[in-house]
Amino acid sequence: MNKKKALGSLAAAAAAVLALSACGNGGSAEAGKGEINYWLWDANQLPAYKQCADDFHKANPDITVKVTQRGWDDYWGTLTNGFVAGTAPDVFTDHLAKYPEFVKNKQILALDDAVKKDNIDTGAYNSGLADLWVGQDGKRYGLPKDWDTIALFYNKKLAADAGVTPEQMASLTWNPQDGGTYEKTIAHLTVDKNGKRGDEPGFDKDNVAVYGLGLNGSGSGQGQTEWSYLTGTTGWTHTDKNPWGTHFNYDDPKFQQSIDWFAGLAQKGYMPKLETTVGASMADTFAAGKSVINAHGSWMIGQYTGYKDIQVGIAPTPTGVNGKRSSMYNGLADSIYAGTKKPEAAVKWVEYLGSAACQDVVASKAVVFPAIKSSADKAVDAFKAKGVDVTPFSQQVKDGTTFLFPIADKAAKVDGIMKPAMDAVVSGKAPASSLTQANDQVNALFK
């Protein structure tokens, strides 16, 4: 670690020297051409963006883009090291949970001038996506590239065996008191070692062979794929306002009641215990036929539909307390590193990434939903051509039943408090009312 840092600062010093000499020769001409570095974390999207980079180079022969993919786990640490050493990529895929800190530390560039100068129409993006990237200072720090929502993946064969039809799956209801038809269906899909279903007398909840609902984790403070699609229907919101909330609402009885219901599924034997989910991923245990329904994000479509010999259906999340569906709506964007030597070239590339030309290419690969409306429709068609109906994901955006990923300062610290607190509740070690104390700790961060 230390060695890396020492080397990094050496490199930074060398770069500074180079930059100084470059300035002497008229730096502005250099700022618009040469090689720029671009990072992303999702390997599934690498081919699409490589093609975007090639197309971009054809249109701008004096700029080449080097695309680098790094796994999520290394991505942010390496990026921070790059900021400190001055070697961060010129342009990188940015996340809503991370960018507030980068803005605060002045590590990413505002794009307002470029957007104004080049007449970028932020209305072309799906509603709300562009606004997510406007910081507390009112400046824009990223151009949207894609979005994701939540839906239910289910094992078609196991559902059919239980007599649950796709129509039933598409019209589930939920409430925090008795769980509605969502809980009834989950219970019915659960099978113990003796072949007894979860809603039959004599069901052995301690020896379950197939769980009705899979469990990914406790969800920490966001519950993006775990429980936010349920709590979102109760009128509960994570923070007082979004983006840039400064008060969290984990002490709300509506929320705690919903979480108690969720944790209760594991106690009833309808969902795996949290302790058994450390290790093998939820998707892999789904592929092994050990759970029937998995609530997960649209970025997992490729993985779920890619398992051999498993027929996967996709259903929308259940309608909840307010009679509507609900899904968290998260969007990624591309940001520019403040220390880039080629800001003009970087801006050009970011604008290209945010344009229909590149997003149509991404759409054609059928891996994610691009941010531009027309491109997103093309992605839906591309998925359909592959035999996958993804409307349960896109419908929520069309119907306006989504809510935005909670953006707040100090996300890492909030996570540091909420992860253990939520783990304790979902594992049944503490009641949901214990979250009130965690909520006090979280809110104390903003005082």
Binding site: V84, T276, A412, G416, K419, A424, S427
Partner: protein, 310 residues
């Protein structure tokens, strides 16, 4: 000091003449030989340590400049339940790891010394140690997985309830302590084995002639003569054990809840995940002090710098 004098007299005896007094000219040569180690020590240990101590009195998010806040970090740590939890969890880990590891390693070393003379068998004992820590952790992470691990498959086949080795609060730390015991046992045994070989054979012959039982020989001869080596081994392994990180980082990441949030992982979390390098540095300084105290007490108590072989 005593050793130095003894070596000098020994040198005098072999050379048959008094050793030349060291002149000023030797200094340059000495520095030349020490330099590589010295530069490494200064650049990679001394400077980071001093900087770490400085940072522990600041608020520092790595981007931007550190601000001096006095002892505020230390005061906050005193009141931080997660720090005390980390200390308890780490101690639990060290106790399980060291007690088992040392006992097993001593047994293995005795077997190597007395029974298994084949280099192949002795070498095999060292195999787990040749594996990278992270690989060993990942290997066992899969073997012990609740859903698809082979160990739980056999447990299930025997009709016993499956165990969430990494997922349950009771098992998370013992499991990781056992994994690292498995990995380090052979290496520790090798160190003790070297100590056993240093015990002169004639001592055992005399004990044998006097009719000492194997147990008496072990207690009255092997253990006392092995003490300096054992003290060294304990100091090194305890320090290593307190610094457990990689196993936790690739498996449970501090969870479930806080059951495996060991001190090193908590430091990492504070500094690198939450960008609170000041707080993380203060935690690291506390760990440094704890380890220095532990090593000092052991040296004192076990008299690791003296030998009974005189």
């Amino acid at each position: 000091m005593t050793t130095l004098t003894r070596n000098a007299t020994a040198a005098e005896r072999t050379l048959g003449r008094p050793v030349r007094r060291r002149g000023q000219s030797d200094m340059k040569v000495a520095l030349f030989f020490i330099a590589p180690a010295m530069i490494g020590f200064i650049v990679f240990y001394l400077v980071p340590t001093l900087r770490g101590i400085y940072l522990s009195f600041t608020e520092y998010s790595i981007l931007g400049d550190p601000t001096w806040i006095g002892t505020a970090n230390y005061e906050a740590i005193g009141k931080d339940p997660l720090f005390w939890n980390a200390l308890a969890v780490t101690t639990q880990y060290v106790l399980i790891n060291i007690v088992l590891q040392t006992a097993l390693a001593l047994g293995l070393a005795l077997l190597m010394h007395r029974v298994a003379k084949s280099t192949l068998i002795r070498g095999t004992l060292l195999l787990p140690y040749l594996m990278a820590n992270v690989i060993a952790a990942l290997l066992w992470f899969w073997l012990l997985d609740y859903q698809i691990g082979i160990v739980n498959y056999f447990i299930d086949a025997l009709g016993m309830p499956k165990v969430a080795f990494f997922g349950s609060e009771e098992w998370a730390i013992p499991t990781q302590a056992l994994i690292n015991t498995w990995r380090h046992m052979g290496y520790t045994a090798l160190l003790i084995f070297a100590g056993l070989q240093a015990i002169p054979g004639h001592v055992y012959e005399v004990a044998n002639l006097d009719g000492a039982s194997p147990w008496q020989t072990f207690r009255k001869i092997t253990m006392p003569l092995l003490r300096p080596v054992l003290a060294l081994v304990l100091i090194v392994t305890i320090i290593g054990s307190f610094q457990v990180f990689d196993t936790v980082a690739v498996t449970t990441q501090g969870g479930p809840v806080n059951a495996s949030r060991v001190l090193q992982f908590y430091i990492y979390q504070k500094a690198f995940t939450e960008s609170d390098f000041g707080y993380g540095s203060a935690l690291a300084v506390i760990l440094f002090v704890i380890l220095a105290l532990v090593a000092f007490i052991q040296m004192k108590f076990l008299k690791g710098n003296e030998s009974d072989l005189d």
